[in-house]
Symmetry: D2
């Protein structure tokens, strides 16, 4: 099956190439990049030398649509919507890695991201978190692949909200992310010398754009409005998200019961590992892989349930999850091309 990677030279796009180039069913036929158009992929990015024999090209959705059977769009928020619309109009199924089709309510989307470029396609989009929406994803032609932070928050949280075990209105989420989450931004803040050994909170005060997405899905799981205080932090490493959630239990605090609910929810899941009792997830255990590790702890003294998760933001938080969605959409085994073992040490 011939696929296109639209926006292939960003970190997420390169990760799609890394994963897709080894996928047994998908073959990359088109890789677009405005900045790199005309350059060979392996010349522009030496890690990909000898891996993919293709030149980047400028994005022309109509021409692309004629040459592929499926498209991954890894464009910035806002820029993605019209590109997706073009591809969809031409009949090409799309896994979109931007936020443009994740939020069902246009008003909520526009409050965070500005004017929406293709609201007419919102209804047909399915939120791209396979562990929650497997059946719908198998039946759609447009997956709105879940964001990196929301994936790290929703995988540990949703089963417990569905079970009515947590108050959805009092959730504190403290997330720590590797720097690649910001993309290849040419700002002084992202230079090596500025970030080595640094750690800091950013976008503090509920202003991060991923909050509406988290609350939409957490609320759906709880059957009631969710309210999430979310503070993201930057870690001095490239890949990975570690999330700690502080929640108030409903009907008694029990880490063991929370763990059972998680184990039940994820018993058949290939990519969610519920850790043994007392073991906290580590970033180093998921790097380079499509795994999300989750765990539940209780602070008996304070009556707080603590949920922890780690994932690789470029894999389970982006490109890996997109391929997982695409596998479902195309009727392939869901884990096809995604079995890479975490790199440790």
């Amino acid at each position: 099956m011939r696929v296109a990677v639209i926006g292939a030279s960003g970190y997420t796009g390169l990760e799609l190439i890394r994963i897709l180039s080894r996928h047994p069913q998908f073959e990359i036929s088109v890789a677009t990049s405005e900045q790199r158009a005309g350059q060979a992929v392996g010349a522009a990015f030496p890690s990909l030398g000898g891996i993919l024999d293709l030149d980047f090209e400028a994005n022309d959705p109509e021409r692309v649509a004629q040459r592929v059977d499926f498209a991954f769009t890894a464009l910035p928020h806002g820029a993605s919507a019209p590109a997706v619309a073009s591809l969809r109009k031409a009949g090409v199924p799309v896994a979109d890695l931007s936020a443009d089709f994740r939020i069902r309510d246009v008003g909520t989307y526009e409050a965070s991201y500005g004017s929406h470029g293709a609201p007419e396609w919102l209804d047909s989009a399915v939120y791209g978190l396979p562990e929650l929406y497997r059946e719908s994803l198998a039946a759609t032609d447009l997956a709105a692949v879940a964001g990196c932070y929301p994936t790290s928050v929703l995988l540990p949280l949703v089963p417990l909200l569905r079970a009515g075990m947590l108050e959805p209105g009092h959730l504190m989420v403290d997330s720590k992310s590797g720097v690649s989450g910001a993309g290849r931004k040419l700002e002084a803040d992202y230079l090596f010398a500025e970030l080595e050994g640094d750690c800091r909170a950013y976008q503090v005060g509920g202003v991060h754009r991923h909050v509406p997405e988290m609350e939409q899905e957490a609320g759906a799981a709880a059957g009631a409005a969710a309210c999430i205080t979310f503070v993201p932090h930057l870690l001095p490493t490239t890949r990975g998200i570690a999330t700690s959630i502080y929640a108030r239990p409903v009907g008694g605090l029990s880490a063991a019961r929370a763990r059972e609910v998680l184990l039940d929810a994820y018993a058949q899941e290939r990519f969610v590992r519920v850790l043994p009792e007392g073991q906290a997830p580590r970033l180093s255990s998921v790097k380079g892989s499509n795994y999300c590790d989750v765990a539940a702890f209780a602070d008996e003294r304070t009556g707080t349930l603590i949920l922890l998760s780690t994932l690789d933001n470029l894999v389970k938080g982006a490109a890996g999850q997109a391929v997982q969605c695409a596998n479902l959409m195309c009727g392939f085994p869901e884990d096809q091309g995604l079995l890479e073992v975490p790199i440790a040490p």
Copy 2:
């Protein structure tokens, strides 16, 4: 003034040497280390070559007491109490960096740390956080230098608790610490290859020994029992603590008002910097220095006050704070020997 560093070859001890070797009033006459006894300081630790012309010696409190006018004890919890008692009995004033004299209630101490070796000296000890206990420290001969995590929590928290602006019973604290906080432990978990690019929570569930210390001082500030959910995390760097506190406001949420209270509290403080509105503290801005940077934010949607702080765990979280206490105890200017500028980049 001749001083001893007892337990001088651990990370905290070496940091005391780093600071004291440039202090205009203190002169290191004794540096003890059981493992390194007989070795020259500069031979054992090449960074100190040419800095301090002294050999490590085994600790013999009575002999040490005769040769110094002041002692810094940087021994493990439990081992410190008897050493401090010997020095105090011999009339030597002590700044103790262990937890042994921080917790006023022996029962509370023993629940976390085991049997106390010198409870008779507890009453004369003053909690070693100069911004809170300046006058008492100036009048004592035994400072129980505050712990690294507690310092990062109490400096942003105490002024607001004193002002009655926060509910002391519902505090969530998510701290991230550099690896040096664990000391020079020979465990596989602390090897470079295990920690590069890693991040993980540890001692989750209210079991970290610093919790009683935090609650003691937070409670004293609030005039009511404090209840803190505390989850420490390990960062892939050597130095520094970044703390994020999630609190419920009393009498209305206002970041501006919180910031004013912090500014008032720390207007005259040399080592606490209240950051401009909207600016979050960074680890990289305090490394190598005795500063603690603090900031207050509000999440209006969720009604949560968010307090942030960063400090260097080996300086303001340990050796620097000990010297600050010692300066007060000896009647020297409080910032003597502590004006080192943060190393950035």
Copy 3:
């Protein structure tokens, strides 16, 4: 084909598990570890959770020999020889990752490593660098997998020595290695806090044990004694070796001609990438993969040819190369299970 990983809990052993667990032909039936015997692989090493359903067991070569068709031995130098001898006596083909069968001359081996435990098997061993010994490896039952530093030195060097373009007696080699090269050694020198941001030479003065191995193979390529000044350095990262070789040309200095010789030698090689003119290899372009990137430069002013290479010491420098050898020994496609794309960024 059932395989054993002997010494499976060290960094090299874990990397063998990482690679072999996805190999289409090999199936890990036995993983030995004295320290971890009885523990489940995924419990002991969380990154491998859900990957390999097996318990570590103590090594008992005779029992192991009955249960597998092939063995990878990743034991320390000296300890490997007798284990290999037992397996070979029982008819099991072996890819040995230690140095025990790399050096043909027993005296030379013993000068560096001490008494040899199974010299009778030396004659049947083939040096495990497939790019140099492909045919012999396909015909042997004992591969002495090349060392990490020697691989990084020999791949750029051997084609030029074979072509008579370099003086074999005047080679300066400056190598920089990630910390995982030292294994999981519980020494203070390898703690995170000691190595973050550090860089230093070690074993300076021609005393590194890999020198005889390099000179043996460089000399064989040149048809004359090779003499290598080798200084290894430690980098503040976990994986990777970057090697810079300073050589005197024979018959005129020309980077272009050197590059042509490398291109000719490696035109058909899957795992050696000769970089475009003027491009220096990067560690970040090979991490997690079996690639070795090489390049040639000339310093016209000084008449020096400069050869550069990078590889992942745990893959092409150890486990990947072992699997590459094993593929040849077993008649599988040489790149089977080794097509993992480098992880970048």
Copy 4:
């Protein structure tokens, strides 16, 4: 003594502020930055909050000259020469951190750096390496502060060249530098995600601009033309240079004799530490300090003398060395304001 820092917002300029703000004799009266003009120093760079109460201003050499007694110029190569000329014409002594006045021969300078903006001031400039040119620096009003790489090469090399113990025409220099050496360049190559865990050679083939400077001073020491093959490498850390030099001995190889010559040369030097026999310099032992650690080793088998050095490129390789020069020029104790102890761990 009032001083100006011209070009104060680059990494070298900020390091000058870090050091000068604690200097007992110098007081920063002017800090210029075109990009940051009008901003308060502490607002623009939070690590300097509360340290220096000054606003950046645009550079106007004539106005600056009236307000200071001494100037440090930390401008890019080429831009520095005219600024220095203006200051000198106005009678202000200058320590210049660019390359503009380091190379005595204008033709040699222009081959590397382009047209020289103020060649008339070359004759009055003294090469700013106090260990070599102490007396001349004390008598000049223009110090051309030595480059970071050259300092790391010349300090171990010059005493041996002066003693006639090395062939000056066959020197191989392999240097590894932290990323801050490139300055705060907004290029994708210097982003954190591109450099974490990376290592690579750059400007291979004798094209690095520091080569003429090294050869000028090495040749002067040897009394004969020096020829240096120099390959710089980028390390995955912010600060520090580690240099390894491979040299041919004259009159017999002896590490002990080489060490004696170094010890003799540096016995009275405050900032050069000749390490004990067999101990290699570490980056982590010099960070944040003005030290350069040096050591000599012999490879008896190959007849090669190996010289090793480490220093902090922003201190002894730039700002610290500039202050050391300025102390000499102003008649202050040479180590004034430079006694900061290395930060380790």
